[in-house]
């Protein structure tokens, strides 16, 4: 296993920039009722209970709309404002398979690849700690769409194959997204 040191590449600012860029690129795609681009919020429980932002995309004409991709960021920084927690960020790129994309309720499976990193505070003492780790996990979940398939609520649980200081084996996520492409941009 090659261990990456993400510190020089990763920052919350960079990841937010990627998410915002994807959202701005949406109008440049082919104006198409088959495209779905959703943004939303998620709450993920692993080492910490971390809220975050998620962007996912799918294309109905690609393999009947089964595959989807997702980019997500979650953080413990809000909790760190009130408690003595590590300031941890998880960034995930997911590739998933929606088993019943046309159904209101349907199961899905996905694989997450990403990384987790916590801030090294008091660097003069703890500067040598290994504060980042890769994430590789598999999940199964279920989604429910309503309001003309624009709003999706989902929940999943999964197992992480790589563990680090802030990545434990089991985790669960709930979230809700809104299809900004079909709901706002394409109208």
């Amino acid at each position: 296993m090659i261990c990456f040191r993400f510190n020089q590449y990763f920052s919350v600012r960079n990841c937010l920039a990627v998410v915002i860029l994807l959202a701005h690129l949406a109008p440049l795609t082919l104006a198409n009722d088959n495209l779905s681009l959703s943004c939303g919020l998620k709450l993920s429980k692993n080492f910490y209970l971390q809220p975050g932002i998620v962007v996912d995309a799918s294309y109905k004409k690609l393999l009947n709309g089964h595959p989807f991709a997702e980019l997500a960021w979650s953080t413990s920084r809000f909790q760190a404002l009130a408690q003595n927690t590590l300031k941890n960020d998880n960034v995930l790129l997911s590739l998933g398979w929606d088993f019943r994309p046309e159904n209101i309720i349907g199961p899905y499976a996905k694989v997450d690849i990403g990384f987790a990193r916590y801030d090294i505070e008091y660097e003069e003492i703890f500067g040598e700690l290994d504060n980042a780790g890769m994430i590789l996990s598999a999940l199964i979940g279920s989604k429910c769409t309503f309001y003309h398939d624009l709003i999706t609520v989902y929940g999943d649980c999964g197992y992480s194959f790589i563990h680090s200081s802030t990545v434990y084996p089991f985790f669960a996520t709930v979230g809700a997204t809104f299809d900004i492409y079909r709901g706002i941009i394409a109208r």
């Binding site: 003595n84 003492i125 703890f126 194959f161 990545v167 084996p169």
Partner: protein, 309 residues
């Protein structure tokens, strides 16, 4: 960062094979032949020593607490160091449920483990010792933090706490699965102990005790997140090994963030350039380098110097 798939697959295979039985062989402390001398030798505890005088109560006394599954041997090197110095009294504690056999260990709870620490501390207070200190290894530190959080030391604060590789975040994250797979496994024996270590450290790790350990870790982590304040006048230092295979070194950062002195100041912490969990205990290890000895000696000198200030 640890790669989990090999361990995960191993666990699945073990689960498929059934429950892992307890090994109570005679050459293990887990069995019924070897027993920690703490049970028969009262000199381990200062409170039970009959050779000490009233004048000795002015000396600093340090309660030495070992870690999960270990025994009094874990602090014997420091006790020998202190005895050679002559100015410090050492009281080596055996955690409740430890040191006898694995059946006693299996029945014990984390409250039982910590009870003997408090028993000795209270006995020393009652006998009039005024310079009480506490040094812990691994889970001993977790217990000490729990006792501090619940105010056990508020009435007669220890002067110093020395935490060596204290456990809050386990190195092996599979410990978090103990509630799920523990009942199926029954036992998760260590496979990295040499023949000498097997006489001092439990080879078996019954699922019940791992569950207790993880519950204790979660409790202390929660207390740290809310903030732990040391008793008035107490001082604390963490010694954390950088490449600890048993305790995730991020534990030390969590403790550093979560604990404050009574005056609101930060505690002290040091990251030690070593890969030996509880680097202060070297006697039973298979390989010990010159650097290991130097790090141990440096820590011993620092602990003693702080107590004699």
């Amino acid at each position: 960062m640890k790669l989990g798939p090999v361990l995960s697959i191993s666990m699945l295979i073990i689960i498929g094979c059934g429950i892992v039985e307890l090994d109570k062989s005679d050459h293990l402390i887990d069995g019924y032949v070897i027993e920690d001398p703490w049970f028969t030798d009262s000199s381990y505890r200062v409170s039970l020593r009959t050779d000490l005088t009233v004048a000795d109560r002015e000396k600093p006394v340090i309660i030495l607490v070992h870690g999960y599954g270990s025994s009094t041997f874990q602090w014997e090197e420091f006790a020998e160091y202190a005895e050679n110095d002559g100015r410090i009294l050492t009281s080596i504690i055996l955690l409740g449920g430890h040191g006898k056999n694995v059946d006693e260990f299996k029945k014990s709870t984390w409250e039982d483990w910590g009870a003997t620490i408090l028993d000795e501390y209270r006995a020393l207070v009652q006998q009039g010792y005024t310079h009480i200190n506490i040094a812990t290894a691994s889970t001993g530190g977790t217990l000490a933090l729990c006792h501090i959080a619940t105010g056990e030391y508020d009435a007669h604060p220890p002067e110093h706490f020395f935490l060596v590789d204290p456990l809050v975040i386990p190195g092996d994250k599979l410990l978090t699965l103990v509630k799920v797979v523990g009942p199926m496994l029954g036992n998760s024996p260590r496979d990295n102990l040499n023949e000498k270590e097997q006489q001092y450290i439990f080879t078996n790790r019954p699922a019940e005790t791992l569950d207790e350990l993880y519950s204790l870790c979660k409790l202390v982590r929660s207390e740290l997140e809310d903030g732990i304040t040391l008793p008035s006048g107490s001082w604390m230092k963490i010694f954390q090994v950088k490449d600890d295979p048993t305790v995730d070194p991020a534990s030390s950062l969590l403790i550093y963030k979560g604990v404050r002195t009574h005056a609101g100041k930060k505690i002290e912490a040091e990251i030690i350039d070593s890969d030996k969990h509880v680097f202060t205990s070297l006697s039973a290890r298979s390989t010990v380098s010159k650097k290991d000895r130097q790090l141990q000696k440096k820590a011993f000198n620092e602990i003693a110097a702080k107590m004699l200030e």
